[in-house]
């Protein structure tokens, strides 16, 4: 299947914290139809690593994050966390898992209870898990760590804070249980550029201080590049490309990654904006295209792309792509040259 395959999983490493294999999430859409939100993706995250997941709205990146948290029902695949399979956990065992696995959501304001003081909001995870000892001092420390004055912040409610401060509170709430992994689902897309920079720096600091492993989901490749150690590009429920952020920027191999990169507005008036931006919208996930799912918008699509789904394969050191006709060094290889990896399959 397009974008499937497990060539990019690092079986040789023993510090893999989170491993997702052939994850499938489908939602019923009535009359026997299904929304194919996530269609067989695999990835792994090593300890203290940040995996960035990037793609347009509707590509399944948020569903992937929620599936790891087990907030949506899985239709297939396995999720392994610290060596234990968690995809079939239920009830209290599943709830206990969330002490280790926390999430930060996109809209910081609506993810805080408007009627409770911030001190209570941040202390709640501790109360639920019967934290022994001084809850107050733990809350104060974590509020201080995220850059808020605990004395001032604790009695206030969310409407007294700006968007950026609310996101700090959400980060504090996620940190208070000292989790291993935090899933950040578009944590900065609702914020101003200036505040975005503050929150990104804060996440990097917290990762360092609390020894966190992060899954960072966003639609802005520049933001993802800045925080990630490895980036996975998703399109319509599939993985297109997975690489280190610097490699991905230097030489995107998948035409979709290249299109995403060219769509970022550059703060430089001497650069003429790219007018060959990606056309059209994402196809419906209820009826995804055959073969490679990107072929309907791909400038390089050929007959083969409709017939055969490309598998994820290695095209460079720690650089994997799912495409029949990948770009070389960010540009199309000269006509007539054999696409990498095609010869072996014929």
């Amino acid at each position: 299947m397009a974008g499937s395959g497990t060539a990019h999983l690092r079986d040789d490493r023993d510090d893999i914290v989170l491993r997702v294999e052939d994850l499938v999430v489908e939602f019923p859409a009535g009359r026997g139809r299904k929304v194919h939100a996530v269609s067989g993706i695999s990835f792994d995250v090593a300890a203290k690593e940040t995996l960035g997941i990037v793609g347009e709205s509707g590509c399944g990146k948020s569903t992937t994050g929620k599936a790891i948290m087990r907030l949506v029902p899985l239709s297939g695949g396995t999720i392994t966390f610290n060596g234990a399979e968690i995809s079939s956990l239920r009830g209290s065992k599943l709830r206990a898992l969330r002490q280790e696995l926390q999430m930060i959501f996109q809209d910081p304001v609506s993810s805080i209870n408007p009627r409770r003081p911030i001190g209570d909001v941040v202390a709640e995870p501790l109360e639920i898990w019967g934290h022994e000892g001084d809850t107050g001092s733990v809350v104060d420390k974590v509020l201080y760590d995220v850059g808020l004055d605990p004395e001032i912040a604790r009695p206030k409610r969310r409407h007294e804070f700006s968007g950026g401060q609310c996101q700090r509170i959400c980060i504090a709430r996620a940190l208070v249980l000292d989790p291993d992994v935090i899933i950040c689902d578009e944590p900065v897309s609702a914020l101003d550029v200036s505040v975005q920079a503050q929150i990104l720096n804060l996440l990097e600091d917290m990762k360092e201080r609390y020894g966190l492993t992060l899954v960072f989901i966003a639609h802005d490749l520049a933001v993802v590049k800045n925080v990630s150690d490895r980036v996975a590009v998703m399109y319509l429920g599939k993985i297109c490309e997975i690489a280190s952020p610097d490699d991905l920027y230097q030489g995107p191999s998948h035409p979709y990654s290249a299109a995403l990169l060219s769509a970022i507005p550059l703060p430089d008036p001497t650069v003429v904006p790219d007018t060959v931006a990606l056309d059209g919208d994402l196809p419906s996930p209820m009826n995804p295209p055959s073969g490679c799912r990107f072929r309907t918008r791909c400038p390089r699509a050929e007959e083969r792309c409709a017939q055969e789904e490309p598998l994820v394969r290695e095209i460079g050191p720690d650089h994997y792509v799912a495409c029949h006709f990948p770009l070389v060094g960010g540009v199309a290889p000269p006509a007539g040259s054999t696409p990498v990896g095609v010869g072996s399959q014929r």
Binding site: D192, V193, S194, A197, H219, L221, Y249, D268, V271, P273
Partner: protein, 371 residues
């Protein structure tokens, strides 16, 4: 109803299309008067794009709405003059503005999810203004609506006019909003954060579309955004707003080549750039914009500025011209000058700026490196 229509007869091609002079808009609130726009003057020529940039709460949306006359009816005070095509429209009533909206100026709003009527077909929302302003009959208006949807790049437009907004994606809806704004052929288009709610790829599409339409129709455009990257390649001129005032204004190339205002510099530096290696620490602007009920004395950016000196806390810098014609800035210690370099060096030597208490985390060092 007094009919002061702006007709073709008043078209003075030698006067600027839009002149705003000392515009002040304030809102009465229980806490006091919020001065959202506090003395803004600008001119816009035909066929040019002005980018208005600033953080949330800098007054850029209120500026656009003040020009459009789309302010709430009560608890608002607007002073200053707005001249459109040589005609003073600042005291126009809502009834009079109705003849301006559509054929003269139109607006594209931030959120395409909420700016369309959810229970009205897309086609009818476009034809509404055509039938009102252009005296078209149903069939004519419908044909034009289809043509407009084609021109904004919507596939199968004849089918789409019969659909409701919920049947369209976010990008499609924003295209419909643009089609509605363009329907009566406005000479001035105000786009208020037209792409903030959209994906990067769709953002590029919508900006390209606005660009093409503007060139084709020789419209003037005001593009309001918080992202300097969005206006860099698209606007001819850029005005940077902070706390209800324009703090720097220049042509786009000039602004990026030799910015004078520390706020502009800080805004630009806070954008994560693709050419940075991953895990580069971003320069953020500490703190948040000032309270517009009780703005601080002196320069309103001083509390967050790394160039700030004692003088900035006392004396508000006026908007003064730089060496290049058309470049204005409001700063006592501008970036890229001897005074600015000295001010920064002094603050770095001190480890703090005069605006900060010693207890506060230093803003001269990158945020977060302490503590």
């Amino acid at each position: 109803m007094a009919r002061r229509r702006i007709t073709a007869a008043t078209n003075h091609t030698d006067t600027p299309l839009l002149e705003v002079e000392d515009l002040r808009t304030s809102f009465r609130t229980p806490r006091g008067r919020v001065r959202a726009v506090n003395g803004v003057s600008l001119t816009l020529e035909r066929g040019r794009t002005l980018g208005v940039v600033g953080e949330s709460g800098s007054g850029k949306t209120v500026l656009a709405r003040s020009i459009m006359g789309l302010l709430p009816r009560s608890n608002v005070e607007r002073t200053g003059t707005i001249r459109y095509d040589g005609t003073d429209i600042s005291d126009y009533s809502q009834a009079e503005m109705r003849h301006v909206w559509g054929p003269e100026m139109a607006m594209v709003f931030q959120d395409p999810m909420t700016s369309l009527n959810p229970v009205m077909r897309v086609g009818r929302q476009i034809t509404e203004s055509l039938r009102y302003h252009m005296d078209m009959d149903k069939a004519e208006a419908n044909d034009l609506a289809v043509a407009l949807l084609t021109s904004v790049g919507i596939p199968e437009p004849a089918k789409r006019v019969r659909e409701y907004p919920h049947q369209l994606s976010g990008g499609m809806r924003q295209r419909v909003v643009i089609a509605i704004a363009l329907a009566c052929g406005p000479k001035l288009l105000l786009a208020d954060e037209p792409t903030t709610a959209l994906d990067v790829t769709v953002q590029a599409q919508i900006l390209n579309l606005l660009d093409a339409q503007q060139r084709e129709r020789f419209m003037a455009m005001v593009l309001v955004t918080h992202d300097l990257g969005v206006v860099a390649g698209r606007a001819h001129d850029i005005a940077v707003m902070y706390a209800g005032k324009i703090v720097e204004k220049a042509t786009a190339t000039r602004l990026f080549a030799s910015m004078r205002m520390p706020y502009t510099e800080a805004l630009l530096e806070s954008i994560p750039k693709l050419e940075y290696r991953s895990h580069t620490r971003l320069a953020s602007i500490p703190g948040r914009p000032p309270d517009l009920v009780n703005p601080p004395k002196g320069c309103s950016f001083a509390p967050r500025c790394r160039y700030a000196q004692e003088r900035c806390l006392e004396e508000e810098p006026p908007l003064v011209p730089a060496d290049d014609p058309g470049h204005l800035y409001a700063c006592h210690f501008p970036v890229g000058t001897e005074a600015g370099r000295e001010a920064l060096a002094r603050n770095e030597a001190e480890g703090r700026t005069p605006a900060q208490d010693e207890a506060e985390v230093s803003i001269v060092q990158p945020a977060g490196s302490g503590a």
